[in-house]
């Protein structure tokens, strides 16, 4: 049974998407439970795989039994769960499950009459994201990328007002990214004649510094950057996620960009190698500079926004800079930080968007000035929000502290001081925004506990939204406390030889 686990991870949401789409016609009430069930199966399989990978090492699965290790050739598509992607798969399926439970009330409120299609698309999106995470074939990765992208275009476009235009811009940028990636895959295929990641990685060192491979590498990177909204391709993200329905943003913002970062890490670490990056120092310094700019630009724009959703979106832009920068430091702590931050940031962004979603659900909008008295109206939500912001700032013992610690260590070891400065600046900006929100939400109204002041009625978000939000916020602390076992047993094994501590 355990050898079938890798495929179950993607089959769960895929079958749920199909069944839920059919159920949407005949039994609309069934589509939500079906999707929750599919995601629960996938999440259970992914969690089990984390333990198996930690104990036994990488698990391979050959689709349809084509071309297994018994032969010395590869025909079919391989899917792999190893120490680089197992945590990502668990995080994606877990967050998707919690978000599916959380989204019910929001979808009923925001997409009244259309909610039955939402869940099928939601499940299809998660299938695509898990597929990118699990596949061992670079062309298959492109296919899953487009499955995820097409469903996310629709999820964004079902919002109000500017959502169509935002989705159209995202579509143009996303398609350009996917096409560049595909072109890069073509260059690798010309040189190696294979698409299997393991095969390519064994063939590449012998080919040395062939120009076609370098062009392929750059094209794939550009494609991945367009998908993950890395500076200077970040223009589409804030609009798309801010105008999308809140429930769509709650699943897209934490997962879609992180999975693209994982794809970049996979190409950098497994397909090409860290030595390949160190041999081309020209791009390394440029990318590090771009990452610092991404962090600064994201932080600056988040400071100028007055809408909570847009602030959260610009946080995503700056966090992308953390991960790309950490990966391109190309040393032990930097890569550890980047790999850990992919998971940590998925959790943090998810908790942030869930808390913002609760606020939007009760207050109707998310302008900063509407938050007056929010701490008295919805104390539990705001407590979760403060914990999340603390994690984003990097307060111990939350997970944000540890990833930042690794990243700063890596940057110091590589001597890239502008990256250290950008990381600290971004923490500072997030602290300023937290204090501003506390100021508006807590201090601008007369304190209700003082006699003579008007009482502020409690208006907490419904329990079905509150429980996932609080669980996610507590998860941030739990993830932080579990840092050292995670890094020691899993992430350090994903590091290339020679970089592991």
């Amino acid at each position: 049974m355990t050898e079938q686990l890798p495929i179950i991870v993607i089959l769960g949401p895929l079958l749920a998407a199909i069944l839920s789409a059919f159920a949407a016609w005949f039994r609309p009430k069934w589509s939500h439970p079906l999707v929750v069930l599919g995601l629960a199966v996938s999440c259970a399989a992914a969690l089990k795989l984390v333990f198996i990978v930690a104990g036994e090492g990488a698990q391979n699965y050959w689709l349809g039994g084509w071309g297994n290790q018994a032969h010395d050739y590869v025909v079919g598509i391989q899917i792999t769960v190893d120490s680089l992607n197992t945590l990502l798969l668990a995080a994606v399926s877990g967050i998707a499950l919690l978000t599916a439970l959380y989204a019910k009330r929001l979808v009923d409120a925001e997409l009244a009459g259309r909610q039955r299609y939402f869940y099928a698309l939601f499940s299809l999106l998660v299938t695509g994201l898990l597929g990118i995470g699990i596949t061992g074939d670079i062309f298959n990765l492109y296919v899953f990328m487009e499955i995820a992208a097409l469903s996310s275009y629709v999820l964004i476009a079902c919002g109000k007002g500017r959502a169509y235009m935002a989705a159209f811009n995202y579509l143009i940028m996303g398609t350009m990214g996917a096409c560049l990636y595909l072109l890069g895959v073509g260059f690798i295929f010309v040189k190696t004649g294979t698409l299997n990641i393991d095969d390519v990685s064994t063939l590449l060192p012998a080919l040395g510094q062939a120009q076609a491979l370098f062009v392929g590498f750059v094209l794939i990177l550009l494609g991945a950057w367009a998908k993950m909204a890395f500076f200077p391709f970040h223009g589409w993200l804030p609009n798309a996620y801010a105008h999308a329905p809140t429930a769509s943003a709650a699943v897209l913002a934490p997962l879609a960009t992180k999975v693209a970062v994982y794809a970049m890490l996979r190409i950098m670490v497994t397909v090409y190698s860290i030595d390949y990056i160190l041999d081309s120092p020209g791009i390394q310094s440029v990318v590090l500079l771009l990452s610092s700019i991404a962090i600064v630009v994201g932080s600056f724009f988040s400071l100028t926004q007055t809408n909570l959703k847009l602030i959260a979106c610009y946080f995503v832009v700056s966090e992308i800079g953390y991960m790309v920068g950490g990966a391109w430091l190309a040393n032990g702590p930097g890569l550890t930080g980047a790999m850990y931050h992919v998971v940590a940031d998925a959790a943090m962004t998810s908790a942030l968007f869930m808390a913002v979603g609760c606020i939007v659900y009760r207050l109707g909008q998310a302008q900063l000035n509407d938050l007056q008295g929010a701490f008295f109206k919805m104390p539990v939500t705001m407590a979760a929000f403060v914990v999340t912001m603390a994690a984003l700032i990097g307060v111990p013992p939350t997970c944000g502290f540890f990833s930042k610690w690794y990243l700063i260590q890596g940057a110091a070891q590589a001597g890239v001081w502008h990256f250290v400065a950008a990381l600290l600046l971004s923490s500072l900006v997030k602290a300023i925004i937290l204090f501003r929100i506390v100021e508006i939400g807590y201090n601008r109204v007369p304190h209700p506990a003082v006699e003579g002041n008007p009482a502020i009625p409690r208006n907490e978000a419904p329990l079905s939204m509150l429980i996932p939000t609080v669980a996610m916020a507590l998860g941030l602390i739990a993830l932080g406390l579990a840092t050292s076992p995670l890094v020691n047993t899993i992430i350090s094994k994903a590091l290339p030889d020679g970089l592991a501590p």
């Binding site: 487009e146 097409l150 476009a157 235009m165 159209f168 350009m176 295929f189």
Partner: protein
């Protein structure tokens, strides 16, 4: 020069992709962006087909016990990959046109500047 003529298909691929990329990024008209996207994808499909093409090669179906001669067989993989890419391209183009139609109903215009102007009001 001779190299360029011998590989004229790659030259055309590059030209197609440049046209596509330019109109995706620089054109203001949404429909022209969609057309650019289709041209870009066509360029990539041609590129893959070109790298798999071989003069005088046969379909790689093995009959009997004779050992296959690699030089005489075409690589079928690129064409299969492109079948998938065509499907993806059709879906993306359909999605883009559907969105463009929705935008037109909202703003009665395909022009990006006019739409942005409309949204600011």
């Amino acid at each position: 020069m001779e190299n360029l003529i011998a590989n004229f298909n790659y030259v055309i691929v590059v030209i197609l992709m440049m046209i596509g990329l330019w109109s995706m990024l620089a054109q203001k008209n949404l429909i022209k962006k969609c057309i650019g996207m289709a041209i870009f994808q066509t360029g990539i499909i041609l590129f893959f087909i070109s790298i798999g093409a071989k003069r005088g090669a046969k379909v790689p179906i093995l009959t009997g016990d004779e050992a296959p001669v690699v030089e005489q067989l075409a690589n079928p993989l690129t064409q299969i990959l492109m079948l998938t890419a065509i499907v993806v391209g059709v879906a993306t183009l359909g999605m883009a046109l559907a969105l463009a139609q929705k935008i037109y109903r909202q703003h009665a215009s395909f022009d990006e500047d006019e739409i942005l102007e409309n949204q600011r009001k």
